[in-house]
């Protein structure tokens, strides 16, 4: 029940916000999203108390003749993703308080609708429902990018939309194929466990086909090299809050999907093609990191760094080891927080100086020390320094990949070096040095900005030092997943 409420609440809230005029919409959206976060915390407590609590799942027949159920439930990994989503949405809304958007009620309404769809994706236990939420999540972000985006937004948003939709259709075909192979007392079923069974009964060739069909959808969403070219443009063009939704949460749909909707379905296909997919992921890490070195626009740099990070996550997942998948989950949480922080930094820079070109910035360290410290902490989380949240995931990920193949792990590990190269270079260009031009006057941070950055930094450090509350859930969840893989 609680899960259904988690989905329903943002839907109603979003619809309500559509009808509110002016800045009240903003405050209302913030309030609703905080309540939603409270609900998620409630789910967390409930889950801690009893992971199988019936409050956490909900099942109602939707289209009986086709075996479609509105079946949602929170398991360990879903819970972590829901926590991430519900934590980030208020942060994202709060981070927009200093931006003036036209028609704010539409903007915030769309964000809440998107939240609804995202939570749906993370909790769906029915293949059809999963697909519906998956596509549903695309619609609000399409409008957010299209209506409030930057330069050349029409072309870029269109490409983003068509590209991801293109991938999703393959997934739909794959899911229907699996659905046609299900057999529960003579009936077909969309239930996740039935799809698992159906998938495992397939031959190796069939599994390979299903593997690629579903993987492409996820690979485009994440994105994995070489399906990434929509991403930098979209991240740069979208309004910052849209980028945060995209990179902070929506990207995790892909990685989440691989863990829940791909690995257990096609073990043979994975055995055959997993190596190829991991190589692609690792190539993506190095490739995107190297490209990031020469970027001039800070937002684009973050976009490429995000490709690199997600490449490591994907490689860890496909290694199919306890450490790899657990690391992936931890890194998904960490990356969500860090990348939102980084994009927020980019937003603040743009708001204060009117540019994100790193060559035009510099010397801000001397103008606002607090900002420099907060930026540095987020940056350190992003380069996975120990005792920041990024480290736990990265260590486990490289560990998992190492157990799969030591050479690949060594290449994947280059992210440790290259990440430091481009991030520190960016930090130096933006923050350090001496600059007295009037066009880089910075001034002090607004109150809401300070709050957002402080929360992000506290999370980064706190879960770096003591990741146990999240890590325990991830560990148990991955143990269950590993049972499914065998």
């Amino acid at each position: 029940m609680l899960t259904a409420l988690l989905i329903l609440f943002p839907l109603l809230a979003g619809l309500l916000v559509f009808f509110v005029k002016g800045n009240a919409a903003r405050n209302l959206a913030l309030g609703f999203s905080i309540i939603e976060f409270g609900l998620a915390i409630g789910a967390y407590c409930l889950f801690k108390h009893n992971p199988d609590a019936c409050m956490l799942s909900f099942d109602h027949a939707w289209v009986k003749s086709l075996g479609i159920h509105f079946s949602v439930g929170i398991d360990g990994m879903g819970l972590l993703m829901v926590l991430l989503t519900t934590f980030l949405v208020p942060i994202i809304i709060l981070s927009s308080f200093k931006n003036e958007y036209s028609n704010p009620h539409n903007f915030y309404g769309l964000i809440l609708l998107m939240q609804m769809a995202l939570i749906g994706v993370f909790t769906a236990n029915d293949g059809f429902l999963f697909y519906v939420f998956w596509e549903l999540a695309l619609i609000p972000i399409y409008f957010i990018c299209l209506l409030w985006g930057g330069e050349d937004r029409g072309r870029i948003t269109f490409k983003f939309f068509v590209y991801t939709l293109f991938g999703s259709l393959f997934m739909l075909v794959g899911l229907i194929y699996l659905y046609n192979h299900t057999n529960v007392d003579g009936l077909k079923s969309w239930a996740v466990q039935d799809l698992y069974n159906a998938g495992r009964a397939l031959t190796e060739t069939q599994q390979s086909a299903v593997f690629w069909m579903i993987f492409i959808a996820f690979a485009i969403k994440m994105p994995v090299f070489p399906f990434h070219t929509w991403q930098p443009d979209t991240y740069v063009t979208a309004p910052t809050q849209g980028t945060m939704m995209l990179s902070g949460i929506m990207l995790k749909m892909g990685t989440f999907g691989v863990i829940k909707w791909l690995l257990p379905i096609v073990p043979l296909g994975l055995e055959k093609w997993g190596f190829t997919a991991i190589v692609l992921s690792v190539v993506g890490i190095i490739y995107a990191s190297i490209i990031a070195i020469s970027q001039k626009d800070f937002k684009r740099l973050i976009a490429y760094s995000s490709i690199a990070h997600v490449g490591l996550i994907s490689a860890g997942i496909l290694s199919c080891t306890q450490q790899g998948i657990q690391g992936a989950i931890m890194q998904m949480l960490a990356h969500g927080v860090n990348v939102v922080g980084l994009f927020f930094i980019a937003d603040i820079l743009f708001r204060h100086t009117g540019t994100r070109e790193m060559d035009k910035l510099g010397g801000i360290r001397g103008m606002n020390g607090n900002f420099a410290v907060l930026f540095l902490i987020i940056l350190l989380g992003s380069v996975a320094l120990p005792l920041t949240n990024g480290f736990v995931g990265e260590f486990l990920l490289i560990n998992g990949v190492y157990q799969f193949n030591a050479t690949i792990a060594a290449f994947a590990g280059l992210t440790v070096i290259l990440g430091a190269v481009y991030m520190l270079r960016a930090y130096q260009k933006i923050m350090l040095g001496d600059r007295n031009d009037s066009n880089v006057a910075f001034g002090s941070l607004a109150g809401t900005d300070k709050i957002v950055l402080s929360i992000i930094c506290i999370v980064i450090v706190a879960f770096g030092i003591y990741p146990k509350p999240l890590n325990d859930i991830a560990e148990e969840a991955v143990k269950t997943i590993m049972l499914n893989l065998k």
Partner: protein, 628 residues
């Protein structure tokens, strides 16, 4: 008392937090006091723990703080380990750390980033303590990366200077190259042993094939190369002198750069098993020692000379590790911490007196003006040159004696390196403190001895440099070698030397005589002939030019790694990403569009045409249905 070990790193952490959050609002003296007192508290606690440990029979205590990362069979608790090795390092870190904090109060007094400086310094001590206290490799790695961060922050402390920032970035990135090796080593340890806690790993080390052990040992050594500035990853350390001088003394001489030594001593069992790995360590060490000492000959920046000397001394320590003389290397780490910290602080005092000037060509004749600095620095120089009975003599001699036993060739190279050390150190002394003053008139007027907060640490360190040798007297003197005895439980003790005593005396004699000869040579060159280093732009003979420019290693790295990476980055972005990959994606899009506009032409709008096609279609379907 040992149960309270958690407090040792906690005090600096508290100091860091207080200074970090409230530093700006506090007066300078208060934030200096808080920082220093927090280290002093750690030091006192370390001493108590050390004493208690010496008295107890149980030599290894593990204190569990909390459980950190669990993942299936990978269980990493946040545990601290107190044993003779870590407690010795505790003393060095907190002891010298405290002295340098005190010194910094004077040195940094006029800097606007005063409290920020102490914030970083306290954070550094915290991470350094974590590094040596951790009971598993990952905690060591936490400290390892943490000190790297602090080093980055402190090298780039004066963040308005682009060159300093570049140096800081270089240090961090080069360290990270090593860190990747370390990280992979840790993972290999886990994969091999199923655990990364020291006691569990070392217990099982004998049961694993030697090739695996070699891999682990080499990967860990890559980490050590980065942190301890060995070839080929040493170039960051001389650049790191961009940081304030106390930082150079604490981080880039006494403590952080010896982390690599600590790590190898900690994992000495791997290196004892794998001959390949230990040979590699020895050879890399000795080459670095010679290489850096050579570069040190012609440097003119007082801090750069000391930096190359540090690299060279670290090479010597690795040589010791490579030949299996672990306790000797730790001994040298200890004495080196004393005299190198002293030399750096002395250099800082000189720079302070000279109003920021670091070029020894512009100094000279300072001995009369800054007496305490001069005397203490002279003592440090004698110690590093290896003249008895100063501390450097004993530790260096121990390493070289063990080296001779292992391989006379390595011994010769090591001996040459230490002769070069004696030469350039005395060159520094002669050029700085003797002769005529060569700076500007203004500087001469300004010359003054540093405040007591700066001279006090100098004096303490000078005493330690002189008498530190007592910690490890040679075994063949039939005196207690406290250092080796103390570390017995951590280190597989080397079998007693089989060399005849005459030979040991001979080696010692050669070392002392060659040092004295070199110093005399330096005396002739720089005192009697009054040779001065060439000025900027003067034409230099070929070899000197090569050495003066540090063998062009930085330029080489630039040309081979940095520039190609930049080019590759642009090429990947502009050509490969936008043209090819995105080109294919857009190509698919435009292909669909093209096919669409092609097919569109069939829609002529002529109804007759539509109907004819329809009828033909129907006829076709009917035919197909009936005939097939």
């Amino acid at each position: 008392m040992i149960k309270l070990i958690g407090l040792v790193p906690l005090f600096p952490l508290l100091g860091f937090l207080i200074n970090g959050f409230f530093g700006k609002k506090m007066s300078k003296s208060l934030s200096g006091i808080i920082a220093s007192v927090s280290i002093l508290a750690s030091f006192i606690l370390s001493v108590l723990i050390f004493v208690e440990l010496s008295g107890s029979t149980e030599k290894s205590h593990i204190v569990n703080l909390f459980s950190w990362i669990n993942s299936g069979s990978l269980i990493i608790p946040f545990e601290l380990l107190v044993d003779p090795l870590s407690s010795l390092f505790l003393l060095i870190i907190t002891g010298i750390g405290f002295l340098i904090h005190v010194y910094s109060v004077g040195y940094m007094h006029d800097d606007e980033g005063f409290s920020r400086f102490f914030t970083y310094l306290n954070l550094f001590i915290f991470f350094m303590l974590l590094l040596v206290l951790g009971n598993n490799y990952l905690i060591m790695f936490v400290g390892w990366e943490g000190v790297g961060l602090c080093s980055y922050l402190l090298i780039g402390f004066w963040f308005k200077n682009t060159a300093y920032n570049n140096a800081a970035r270089k240090a961090f990135v080069m360290n990270r190259i090593g860190d990747l090796g370390f990280l992979l080593g840790i993972i290999l340890v886990y994969v091999t042993f199923g655990s990364i806690s020291y006691n569990e790993v070392f217990e099982k080390a004998g049961t694993v094939p030697t090739s695996t052990i070699t891999c682990i040992a080499l990967l860990l050594f890559v980490g050590a190369m980065g942190k301890s500035a060995q070839l080929p990853l040493y170039t960051w350390l001389p650049d790191a002198m961009a940081g304030p001088t106390p930082v150079s003394a604490l981080i880039h001489a006494a403590t952080m750069v010896t982390a690599g030594i600590y790590m190898i001593v900690r994992s000495n069992i791997f290196y004892s098993i794998s001959e390949v790995a230990s040979e590699t360590v020895a050879i890399v060490g000795v080459i670095t020692a010679l290489f850096a000492a050579t570069i040190g000959l012609f440097q003119n920046d007082i801090k750069k000379i000391l930096a190359y000397s540090t690299v060279s001394q670290l090479g010597l320590m690795f040589l010791g590790l490579g030949v299996g003389a672990y306790s000797s290397s730790v001994f040298h780490v200890t004495t080196h911490a004393f005299f190198k910290a002293l030399l750096f602080l002395g250099a800082g005092s000189v720079i302070h007196a000279m109003g920021g000037e670091q070029d020894i060509r512009k100094m000279g004749g300072l001995s009369g003006k800054i007496k305490i600095t001069f005397i203490t620095m002279l003592l440090g120089t004698i110690a590093i040159s290896g003249l008895p009975p100063f501390s450097g003599f004993f530790s260096k001699d121990e390493i070289l004696a063990h080296t001779y036993e292992h391989s006379p060739i390595l011994w010769i190279v090591g001996q040459v390196a230490s002769m070069l050390t004696a030469f350039y150190m005395f060159r520094l002394i002669f050029l700085t403190f003797f002769g005529k003053f060569r700076g500007t008139h203004e500087q001469e007027h300004h010359l003054h001895e540093s405040p007591p907060s700066m001279t006090f640490p100098l004096i303490v360190l000078a005493i330690l440099s002189v008498f530190g040798g007592l910690l490890g007297l040679p075994e063949f003197w039939h005196m207690p070698n406290w250092m080796a005895d103390n570390l017995e439980t951590v280190i597989l003790r080397k079998s007693p030397s089989t060399m005849p005593h005459e030979k040991e005396w001979m080696l010692m004699g050669i070392a002392v005589l060659s040092a004295i000869a070199t110093i005399y040579f330096a005396y002739i060159v720089y005192r009697q002939k009054k040779t001065l280093p060439l000025k900027e732009g003067d034409k230099m003979p070929g070899f000197q030019k090569l050495v003066y420019n540090k063998f062009y290693v930085d330029e080489l790295y630039d040309a081979v790694i940095r520039k190609p990476l930049d080019v590759l980055s642009v090429a990947f972005h502009k050509f490969f990403d936008i043209q090819i990959i995105d080109g294919i994606v857009n190509g698919v899009g435009s292909a669909v569009k093209g096919i669409g506009s092609g097919v569109r032409l069939i829609q002529t709008g002529n109804i007759g045409f539509y109907i004819i096609s329809m009828v033909i279609g129907i006829v076709f379907i009917v035919l197909v249905t009936f005939l097939i």
